[in-house]
Amino acid sequence: MLYRDAINLALDHAMESDGRVVILGEDVGFYGGNYKVTDGLYSKYSERRVIDTPIAENSIVGTAIGMAMCGLRPVAEIMTANFSMLAMDQIVNNMAKLRYMSGGKIALPLVVRMPQGVGKQLAAQHSQSLEHMFASIPGLYVFCSSDSTSAYYTTLYAIKLDDPVILLEHVLLYPMDFEFREVKNFNPFNARVLREGEDVTIISYLKMTQDVLKACEWLERDGISCEVIDLLSLRPIDFEAIYSSVRKTKRLVLVYEAPKSLGFGAEVSARVSEELFYFLDAPPLRVAGEEVPIPYNRKLELASIPTPEKIYKQIREWGERHGL
C-alpha cells in the first residue's frame, strides 16, 4: 500500500465513523490534495466536510482551532511544513496553550498534518525538516510515520486523541509502496523496534528510518548487528525504549535529516548520557543534515542530508574509532 493511500484510508475511516471529523486546507477538496493524500474524500463526504481554504495558513489552523473548540474534530492540512511557519502563531501561541491557559476548560481535538523534508530539487523554501520547532513546544503532540502501516495508525490515533497533534509526513514517502500490516492496540507513544540487534542502537524516524534500514543491510554484511528503533512520536519521545535498547547494545546512533545542531540528536544523546553514561562503550554518533539551507543543485542537495551510503560510512568510521 502506498504511504499516501494509507493516510487517505485513515482519514476515510475516521470520517466514516465520526461525523464530527472534517478536513480543511489548500487544495484538499475539489483538487484532491497537492500530494493526493485527500483524493476522493471531497466527492464522498461533500464540500461541507472537506473544506477548501485560501492560501492563509495562519487561518487554516486558526479556524480549525475554533472548530475544535465548538464540537468538531478537524484535520487541517498545511501543504508543506515550510508554509507552517505562517501558522506558527496559531500553532505555538494558541493550539498548544489554550487548554492550559483555560485551566483545562478548553479541549482541542485537532490534527495539523504536513509533509516536510528534502524532496528532489525543491530548493530551500520547500525542503526543510522543522520537527524540532514543534517538538520543543509543551502542549503539542508531535507524531510522525515512516511507512504505510505507521502512517495509517498514527493518523487514526491522532484524530481520535482529544489533544492537538502535529502530524509530520515526508514528501518522498508519499509515492513509496510498503507492505501493510494490521496492528492490535496500536500506540504511537511506544517506539517500534524494526530490527533487533546486539552491537548498536540506531534511532530514526520519518524517511530516514527507510535509509537506516538500507544501511543496516550493508552493516550486517560487515558483521555489525544493528537494532533499529523507529520513533512515531517526537513529543513525547519514548526514552524508555531507547534506554532499554542502549543498555543492551551500549552504543547509540541518531539519524535525522534536519541540521545536526540543537535538535533531536542533541536531546537524545544528552538524555542517554545523563541516564546511561557508564553503560556506553562509545560516545553517541549523530548522522544528520549539514548546517545549510537546502540547495537546488542535486549534487549539493544530496550532500546536505544523510543517505544510506553516508549512514553506513559514518557508522563504520565511528565504529572503527570505538572498537566496533
Binding site: 472534517v22 487561518s59 473548540m69 494558541n94 492550559y100 483555560s102 483545562g104 479541549a107 481535538p109
Partner: protein
C-alpha cells in the same frame, strides 16, 4: 427603551467599572501581577455588545473583564483569577487576559492581537455544520485591523458564509501609537465595507451599541453571513497598568471623560424616568458588596498546588484505542 434594559445596562457597566477600579487598587498593592488591561471608558461597548448579542459564542481580546461580567461570569471567579488563585475561572493559570467559560459560550481572553478572529470564524463554521443557527460575536480593537489575521478572517467569513459579527472597539490607540500613524483609514469599517454590511456607532452610548448589535445579530442569523460594527470609544487608562497613557493630551482625555458612558446613561435614564436616584444608590451599594465579596473570596482562596504545574497540558485521553 424599557426600564429593565436601562437597569441592566447600568448594573453591568457600573459593576465592570467598580471591579476594574478595585483591580487597579489590588494591582498597586501587589495582589495582582502581570498585565492588567482596563476597560474603563469603554464599558458601553462591552455591555451593549454582549447584552445586545444575547445567545451565541463570544470570542474576545485580552481586555475582557467587562465582557465576561456581562456574559454572566461570577465576579468572584474573575477576581480570584486576577489574584492567580486556584478558585479562579482558569484555575489561576490564565490571569487577566485569559478568562474562559465554555458553559457560558465564552472563549477567552486571547492575548495575541487578532488571533481569535479566525477562531470565531471556525466556531461559526462548526455551529453551522451541526445545524445550529446562533451567530458568533468576535470583538477586537482597532489595532487588530492592520494585521493579516483580520483580513484572513473577514475574507473567510464571507467565503464560507458564516454568521460572525465582527465588532471593532476603536479607541484610536494601539498601545501608544495613534491610529492615523499606522492605519490607512481612521475609520476601520473602511477595511471591511466591501466584504460585508457595516455600521459605525458612538461607543460611548450604550443604547446605540445595543441597538446596532441587535440589528446585526438579526442580520447574521437571517442571512447566515457576517456583519461589521465599529464602535468609536476611548480608554481613560493606559493600555495596561504598565502604561501611563501620557502620549495623549489631558485635554483629549477630558473631552472623552465628559462623554462618560455611565454618567451619560444615568443622566438620560433619570430624565426619561427609567432609573431613579434611589434605585441607583441601592444598586451602587449592592455592587460595592459584590466587589468586596469577590476580593475577600480571592484573598481567602488557596494558591494552586505545585502539581497543578503539570496538569491541564493534555487531556491524554484517546477517544478509543485504535486497533
Amino acid at each position: 427603551m424599557s426600564q429593565s434594559l436601562a437597569e441592566k445596562f447600568y448594573f453591568y457597566m457600573k459593576l465592570g467599572r467598580e471591579l476594574e477600579l478595585r483591580a487597579k487598587e489590588e494591582y498597586m498593592k501587589g495582589n495582582i501581577g502581570g498585565f492588567l488591561h482596563l476597560d474603563i471608558g469603554q464599558e458601553a461597548v462591552s455591555v451593549g455588545a454582549v447584552l445586545g448579542f444575547g445567545k451565541g459564542d463570544l470570542f474576545c481580546p485580552y481586555r475582557e473583564h467587562v465582557l465576561a461580567l456581562a456574559r454572566g461570569m461570577d465576579p468572584k471567579l474573575i477576581m480570584a483569577e486576577l489574584f492567580g488563585k486556584v478558585t479562579g475561572v482558569s484555575k489561576g493559570k490564565g490571569g487577566s487576559m485569559h478568562l474562559y467559560e465554555p458553559k457560558l459560550d465564552f472563549y477567552g481572553g486571547n492575548a495575541i492581537v487578532g488571533a481569535h478572529l479566525s477562531h470565531a470564524v471556525g466556531a461559526a463554521y462548526a455551529r453551522k455544520l451541526m445545524g445550529e443557527k446562533a451567530g458568533v460575536l468576535a470583538i477586537f480593537g482597532d489595532g487588530a485591523t492592520n494585521g493579516g489575521s483580520f483580513f484572513e478572517a473577514i475574507n473567510l467569513a464571507v467565503v464560507w458564509k458564516v454568521p460572525v459579527l465582527f465588532l471593532c472597539e476603536n479607541n484610536f490607540y494601539a498601545i501608544g501609537t495613534r491610529i492615523d500613524r499606522v492605519s490607512a483609514f481612521r475609520d476601520t469599517y473602511m477595511k471591511a465595507k466591501d466584504y460585508m454590511p457595516y455600521l459605525q456607532v458612538d461607543g460611548m452610548d450604550v443604547f446605540q451599541v445595543y441597538e446596532a448589535v441587535q440589528e446585526a445579530k438579526k442580520h447574521i442569523e437571517n442571512y447566515g453571513s457576517p456583519f461589521y460594527i465599529e464602535a468609536l470609544t476611548y480608554r481613560y487608562e493606559g493600555h495596561s497598568m504598565a502604561d501611563k497613557g501620557d502620549y495623549r493630551s489631558p485635554k483629549e482625555i477630558e473631552t472623552y471623560k465628559k462623554k462618560d458612558p455611565i454618567e451619560n446613561l444615568k443622566a438620560k435614564a433619570i430624565k426619561m424616568g427609567w432609573l431613579t436616584e434611589n434605585w441607583i444608590r441601592t444598586t451602587d451599594e449592592a455592587i460595592e458588596r459584590v466587589i468586596e465579596e469577590a476580593v475577600q473570596f480571592a484573598i481567602s482562596s488557596s494558591e494552586p498546588d505545585l502539581d497543578e504545574l503539570y496538569k491541564d497540558i493534555y487531556c491524554g485521553v484517546c477517544s478509543d484505542v485504535v486497533s
